[in-house]
């Protein structure tokens, strides 16, 4: 069995989740405070990939990234960066694709915390930063975990976008979901089964780990 699609998938999901965690926490905090037209527009944009079919997203990314014209051409000729059929392109696409899964639950949980929690912390002389880290984050930790698991899982299962802008290039863009599709088309059911079982086991472990982590709160990974 060729393990490279599994590693590639894990690498893609891992990097995407990490990037989104770094970008997502401050962004979600910012979105959770107050409400302005700018924020609404940014939030609507972030939310779009959630409701957009992967093939639409894939199509527009293909057009944007294609080295034949526009942005893709500019990137290819000036920076020698190619985003179609490359791992970097998949990372960028996954970040866009999974963004709402990271931002949504965190922002929502932050908004649901009573205002008086942060007020109480401010009166103790604590900065916004310290309040965020020591009071707000710990009180939304199940939502945080949810966001991370959702993001990771959503990237793990990414298929349509990868098929459109990644193709099926071994070691570069042939992630597990594509490898399975390929194996099925090749009637190599043993491989398809193996990949599926690995992913199944992996996801089962994730789900169970989250259940156990949340046991005391009796919360599920989607919370």
């Amino acid at each position: 069995m060729d393990w490279s699609p599994i590693w590639l998938t894990l690498k893609l999901a891992g990097i995407t989740t990490l990037l989104l965690a770094v970008v997502g926490l401050p962004l979600a905090y910012w979105l959770s405070r107050g409400r302005s037209v700018g924020k609404i527009i940014i939030e609507a944009l972030i939310t779009m990939p959630l409701v957009l079919p992967p093939s639409v997203l894939g199509f527009y990314l293909l057009i944007a990234f294609s080295p034949q014209h526009g942005l893709g051409k500019w990137l290819a000729t000036h920076l020698n960066v190619r985003l179609v059929f490359s791992f970097e392109g998949l990372v960028l696409a996954s970040v866009i694709y999974s963004m709402p899964f990271m931002i949504g639950p965190i922002k929502s949980a932050l908004q649901q915390l009573p205002l008086s929690l942060s007020q109480a912390s401010y009166t103790l002389g604590k900065s916004r930063m310290e309040t965020f880290i020591k009071v707000l984050l710990p009180n939304i930790r199940t939502s945080l975990l949810t966001a991370i698991v959702l993001t990771f899982a959503h990237t793990l299962g990414e298929f349509g976008v990868v098929l459109m802008i990644g193709g099926n290039i071994p070691h570069t863009t042939r992630v597990a979901s594509i490898a399975i599709y390929d194996a099925v088309e090749n009637m190599d059911y043993a491989s398809a089964n193996n990949y599926s079982l690995v992913l199944f086991a992996l996801t089962f472990i994730i789900v169970m780990a989250v259940f156990i982590f949340n046991k005391y709160n009796s919360k599920s990974p989607l919370e």
Binding site: Q119, Y122, T123, G125, K126, V135
Partner: protein, 204 residues
Amino acid sequence: MIAIDIEQKMRSYQGHTILKVKAQIALNSVTKIYGPSGCGKTTLLKIIAGLVVPQKGKIRVGNDVWLDSEAKVNLLPQQRKVGFIFQDYALFPNMTVVKHLQYATDDKVWINRLLHFGRLETLQQHKPQYLSGGQQQRLAILRALAIKPRILLMDEPFSALDQDMRGVIINELKVLIDELSCTCLIVSHNPDELAFIANAELRL
């Protein structure tokens, strides 16, 4: 001297009512604040703490200007650093009793003294959701005292305490307040309970 002169529009079903407060409060005094339910006591305390910004007004504490809506001066709650006891406690669900105090101060001796004062020594490792109403309220008091505030704003701090406990707490609180030379504003519905401790009053 704390000088307060503020005006705040309060939401109410039929239009709005205006909360106007003009008061001078001596430093190191304990002032009892009272008035009918819904008159704006909680709102006033939040304005002093910097948690609500009034439409118009000035607040001066000693020689420092905390708020001057005309001069656009408005200190952050962090800069005012008052001790505040919320009417609904506002405890941190993620922290145990002792973590609440450790979050507010590093002074271990002080923490132990407060735990004893609040009779919460044996409940140190409990989180708020496992505390009874009165235990939660005592924790809220301790947390506000933990930062050794110069100004202490208390929003009905004894409402969930039984009489014996209340007596004990008020007695010991007086000692602490004197020690910290702290100016104290207490909203209360039982003016009697404050007879022993309060030396000024403000009616809204």
